[in-house]
């Protein structure tokens, strides 16, 4: 029972190369079918995201170099020469494959440490492979373990909890002040790239109402349509400040767009309800002295960047705990694998002993021709019972004792000792 993985990711390959070897869902299904049809792999799964393309598989026992065959297949599937992939591919075997997959599911191998999307992508890749019958007992066990690892790492560590992008940090800060954003509102001034990301996150978090304003009325209406928001005329921004709980500024302007006097007036008009100002502009769009106003929370791009850096460090501090969970599940897989291997060896041993018994009886019962047929049959049954009894205890112990299965990892010695491979092709 061998496991093989070949693949490339953001660390080993350029984005151009990753684009060339990416698999759509349909391609992943076709590739899995072809790998099995050509006898390269017995079980297979293709995991393809924007940052990685990986082929997981269990080759037939007779295949000498399955990794090389998989590489050739990967190149030919994407109509490339093998040498175009060679330097960017990584290859893992057996437990290294398991460890690699578990680290991927945990977000430890991601470009953004601890990101959550990868677990969904692993789940989806597994679902597709399972639906098409491309996986078998080994990959099923391994991928179910990976999903468990991903869930545990995210619930038992803080590797994915704190925001590590400026846009998401802004939205999470809003939730620290207002709780659920469903009954709250935001005003977006201007539209930089980060500002757009903030809007996306606000929509994802269910923001109640969204308004947009831009210096160019036409562009403002365009943004409002794109964000499914209401447009506010630029000259009415000062009055519009009375209304939102959160204002996101991303305007190209040499002078502050929101002055202290404007915010002071707005706070008076809104009865000092809390106001979160996210200033993404450089130069800054909000007069820094606004931060001193009562119930105003002002964050500029540097503040958010600092929070992001702190959170990245906090995520990195969680790596040992996540690795420990990965290690625990790799051990579990190892134990399961050893159990399966041991069962196979014991079945072979039983088969061999049964053959020996037949030969023994044929040779020795000839000397006991004086015995009646019933007694001869009884001797044969007794011998069979004896063999069953001899094997019963080790079989039960192998099923029940994980430590024993670990000790018996290398079963080749047992195979050699009892000549279990004799007569096999």
């Amino acid at each position: 029972m061998e496991l093989v993985l070949i693949g490339l990711n953001h660390r080993t390959a350029t984005v151009e190369l990753r684009e060339r070897v990416a698999f759509s869902a349909e391609q992943a299904r076709t590739a899995a079918e072809q790998l099995r049809a050509r006898g390269i792999l017995e079980e297979t799964l293709v995991l393809s995201t924007c940052n990685r393309s990986e082929l997981y598989g269990v080759p037939p026992e007779t295949t000498a170099d399955s990794a090389a065959a998989m590489e050739l297949f990967l190149a030919s599937f994407h109509q490339m020469r093998p040498d175009e992939l060679g330097g960017s591919l990584y290859r893992h075997r057996d437990l290294d494959v398991v460890r690699h997959l578990y680290r991927v599911a945990a977000g430890l191998d991601s470009m953004l440490l601890g990101e959550a999307e990868i677990l969904g992508q692993v789940r989806e890749a597994y679902r597709i492979a399972l639906d098409h019958g491309a996986t078998g007992p080994v990959l099923n066990r391994m991928f179910q373990g990976a999903l468990e690892v991903g869930k545990r790492v995210r619930s038992e560590t803080e590797i994915g909890t704190r925001p590590v992008s400026v846009a998401f940090a802004g939205v999470k800060l809003a939730e620290r002040i207002f709780g659920s954003l469903k009954n709250h509102s935001a005003l977006i001034l201007g539209a930089g790239d980060t500002g757009e990301l903030v809007v996306t996150h606000l929509r994802d978090r269910g923001i109640g109402r969204l308004r947009v304003s831009n210096r160019s009325a036409e562009r403002g209406r365009g943004l409002a349509a794109r964000f499914a928001a209401e447009a506010v005329a630029w000259e009415n921004v000062s009055a519009a400040l009375e209304w939102p709980d959160m204002v996101v500024c991303s305007v190209a302007s040499a002078e502050p767009v929101l002055t202290r006097a404007m915010v002071e007036r707005a706070m008076h008009a809104r009865g000092n309800r809390a106001l979160l100002l996210i200033d993404l502009g450089v130069p800054r769009n909000v007069d820094p002295s606004v931060a001193a106003l009562y119930n105003v929370y002002l964050y500029n791009i540097d503040d958010l960047q600092e929070i992001v850096e702190q959170n990245k460090r906090a995520r990195a501090d969680e790596i040992p705990r996540a690795e420990a969970i990965v290690g625990e599940h790799v051990d579990k897989f190892l134990s399961w694998q050893a159990g399966v291997n041991a069962s196979v060896v014991l079945a072979s041993l039983r088969e061999r002993l049964a053959g020996e018994r037949e030969a023994f009886l044929a040779a020795r019962l000839g000397d006991l021709a004086h015995l009646p047929e019933a007694d001869r049959a009884r001797v044969a049954r007794l011998l069979e019972e004896f063999l069953d009894q001899v094997l019963l205890d080790p079989v039960e112990r192998l099923r029940g004792e994980r430590e024993l299965r670990r000790k018996l990892q290398n079963l080749e010695a047992l195979r050699d000792l009892f000549r279990l491979d004799q007569g096999k092709p």
């Binding site: 009865g271 809390a274 929070i307």
Partner: protein
Amino acid sequence: MTNYLVLATLACYAASFGCYVRFLYAPTRAVGRAATFTLAGGLILHYFALIARSRVIHGVPYDDLAGSLSLFAWLLAATYLGLELVHRQKSVGAFVLPVVLVLFIFAHGFATPGSAAPPARGPMFALHVTLNILAYAAFALSFVASVIYLIQNRMLRGRRMGAVGWRFPALDALERLSRSSVGVGLIALAIGVTTGFVWAHRLLGRYWDGDWKVGVTLLIFAAYAAYLLLARTKTWRGARASALCVVNFVFVIFSYSIVNLYLSRFHRYL
């Protein structure tokens, strides 16, 4: 039997505390439910522990400081559970349960049940004391919420979220929780004080004989009523109202300790 009930209650409260802390790190539905159910279990066991204690001392369980603290802990946990269900906000539990645990351990770890039976005082007296302690428990809950509010607000305004800032409940939720618990406290205190006046009139023939406890309680009522009125005004909304709530609780502690132990003639523990 009492000891078993006390230990079982303690185990439930401790488990609930563990679950609430876990909920701050991993706010999953299962952990949240486990926290709420173990707290509810603790409340039921605590109730029977209070009943058992009453049987042992042949009287109400709040005639001494220890019994009163135990009832305080029970009412604090009950008030919190009620408000958690109303506001659907579980992240304050991690900060309330330690207070419940400390009060409970102090009440049952150092309690020496008196042997003399206190005079029978009737259901109106029981209602008077229970409602006043309920009011104090509700004020304690608003105190916890306000302290967390002030810490969280300081972090947000200082733009330093630190390691714990991301786990605190939202300011808005803390503000609502604090106002609700003060509302519960004021209603309980109003009824509790009224029943106290009626009971005093029946017993002594006058409503108030100048006892310190009554004066301080009325001051507490005025202070929390002022908080509730000011908390939604332009000037006080937010951190200032929370600071007022924290200051008000100093009066509650003063009333519960110094007044009850040294100053009051009619509200001393046995």
